[in-house]
Subunit: 379 residues, 2 copies
């Protein structure tokens, strides 16, 4: 029966993330939030559903999703948090868990994350910890969340020592990526998510990067190219995650641009001054420039990466970021504090070319510092 229903919607792309008994589907297409009830009820008929969302997303999508759940015989209870990274903290985590307990969410019930990356990370960790693990469905509402945080099972909150330092690996049982929901996003936020889309081309899929260079305007406009870009991104991430669920090896490739990027985000105080994807865009351009400086990849590839990111309107250099940032020493300290540090050695994702990234262990701090100094001086 579910197959017939799928076939009725030729505009929906379905990906299966292969993780053995924890395999799940990612559905991508327009209008999926209207079908959330039916889709979840197929997996957990009659369940109670704790909908974790933020105030802004609730205004746009909560009524749709709640009505869909009720129509399918499910019992929704909304849990609304404030928008923004600050909600990824211990205090809000406790509030969300308590609210889910008050809603009597039990082991066979569902926690639904309706929102961007913050809501997904927070709700996912709450689902992982509630009664030591209840089922979890992602309904990502930002491009970033659809292509990144909704795939792979990473959940968590921030500590005063840094971002995402507390959490769990907890795979969803279903991801509903409503591509039409992205039409309500501000352009800057969509663009920030696009940085992660481009990342999948840079990691190991040069033809996808070339396709984006040609098609990026259609991806921004919506329609089939957008769905294809999201699906290709999710499939890339899913393939890496399936190879390495707990991030002991290959999965680190997904951090391309993230070590530099996290340091810049931290330096900017995780504010609206620099969105996550913007920081990743600068970080990816830097990773390629550093790779070229080390003789690992051609200067042409480094220029091509920066050119495309710049074309879509993303920053590619520290000087593109408004306001003050830490000096080179400060950035080096922030890089050393990054959680990807292993016994004090610096690990970076570098590249031998577009689509040819690799894990570089034991990067020489002196060379890194010289690079950052040169970056600062560059116009």
């Amino acid at each position: 029966m579910s197959h017939v229903a799928e076939e009725l919607r030729a505009d929906i792309t379905r990906l299966n993330v292969g993780l053995g008994e924890r395999a799940y589907d990612i559905l991508i297409g327009p209008g999926l939030f209207h079908e959330a009830g039916e889709r979840i009820a197929r997996l957990r008929p009659g369940a109670r559903v704790g909908i974790v969302t933020d105030r802004h997303v609730a205004e746009r999508h909560l009524a749709t999703v709640e009505a869909a759940l009720r129509a399918a015989g499910l019992t929704p209870t909304p849990v609304i948090v404030e928008p923004g990274e600050k909600s990824k903290c211990f205090r809000v985590f406790e509030e969300v868990v308590d609210a889910l307990l008050a809603a009597r969410i039990e082991r066979r019930d569902v926690v639904l994350a309706l929102g961007g990356g913050v809501v997904g990370d927070l709700a996912g960790f709450a689902a992982a910890a509630l009664r030591r693990g209840v089922d979890f469905v992602q309904a990502p509402t930002s491009l970033l969340a659809q292509v990144d945080s909704s795939v792979g099972g990473k959940t968590g909150i921030n500590s005063r020592h840094g971002k995402n330092l507390v959490g769990a690996f907890h795979q969803p049982i279903l991801v509903l990526a409503d591509s039409a929901a992205l039409d309500t996003l501000p352009l800057r936020e969509f663009r920030s998510g696009y940085a992660e889309v481009a990342k999948y081309g840079l990691i190991d899929n040069a033809p996808f990067f070339a396709w984006l260079e040609r098609k990026w305007q259609e991806v921004f406009a919506g329609g089939p190219a957008r769905i294809e870009a999201i699906a290709t991104s999710c499939a890339s991430k899913a393939a890496v995650v399936a190879r390495d669920e707990k991030e002991t090896g290959d999965r680190a490739l997904l951090n391309l641009g993230h070590t530099f990027g996290h340091a810049l985000e931290a330096g900017a105080g995780f504010s609206q001054r620099l969105l996550h994807g913007e920081a990743v865009a600068v970080g990816m351009a830097q990773a390629f420039r550093f790779s070229a400086r080390q003789g690992l990849c051609s200067p042409e590839d480094a220029l091509r990466v920066a050119a495309h990111l710049k074309t879509v309107g993303l920053p590619t250099r520290i000087r593109d970021i408004p306001g003050d940032l830490p000096d080179t020493d400060g950035l080096m300290d922030l890089i050393a504090q990054d959680k990807k540090v292993s016994r004090g050695a610096l690990t970076f994702i570098l590249a031998r070319g577009i689509g040819r990234s690799f894990i570089a262990r034991d990067v020489d701090p002196a060379e890194l510092r010289a690079f950052l100094e040169a970056e600062r001086g560059a116009i």
Copy 2:
């Protein structure tokens, strides 16, 4: 090499808990805390070790353990919490995680739980959540923790909605059960732990229960009978956990006495008025009496269970608990709130005899209420 070292200590019993790639050893014997460094260094040479402990346990054992770790080339950092159930809360969880991050505990390092069940549950959840999972060693200092909470990977904290409602399944890489450390326990606390020892006989090992009826004084006195009782208990629990790691089936048998017991603990405000094992003792006696009343087991077996628990000094009836408790309605409410509730149906562990317990689903609330009323009236 490690085998030679093991053989030098004939007084140490080693159990391997078979959970595939997450298999680990439980070592039981006197003086293991003095060997903690050597034992951990074999698994994680050179690691930093965050020692989570409470103020009382720290006075007795921290210096020994810290010295042992340093001598083996490990780097210990103590994280000391207040003793008691109140430390199993969100606030202390955050403090512990932050302290472990400040100590720069990374993915290849270790969190060591040195203490009773509270410390084990709290430290285990902190280890599970820290950087989405770091390795965890248990050094249980109470009989209860040695035979129960140190085996099986359940970790967690309490919510205002109830006990252990927030946490993770996180298996330790090693358990060091120092049987000599139990000599410093108050008798009442040892006896409380003994209730869980007796439980393993009642679940599925009638010969072990009969052995305890004969040997309990030696178990209390210390020496080989104590080690054997701990080892048999751990092996029983390990066997159940290996069959059912995530508590979807058989593992529920370990809750014998716990549904009644938790309701009584909650009714007594989780205070020193009623220790966990004391509540379990009353709960087990009740589970057998309720089973006899339902015609499931013989009245003789129910009497024999209560007689042994009473002989060692444990309570077996509600009237044995000092102070006020909720009335029958109040107890029924507390039972319904227990996390083992599934879609509102009441699940209990009942018995067809000593060593013949089973999972009874859909227990009739009316019969349960009548039983509790009768219990209240009984002398």
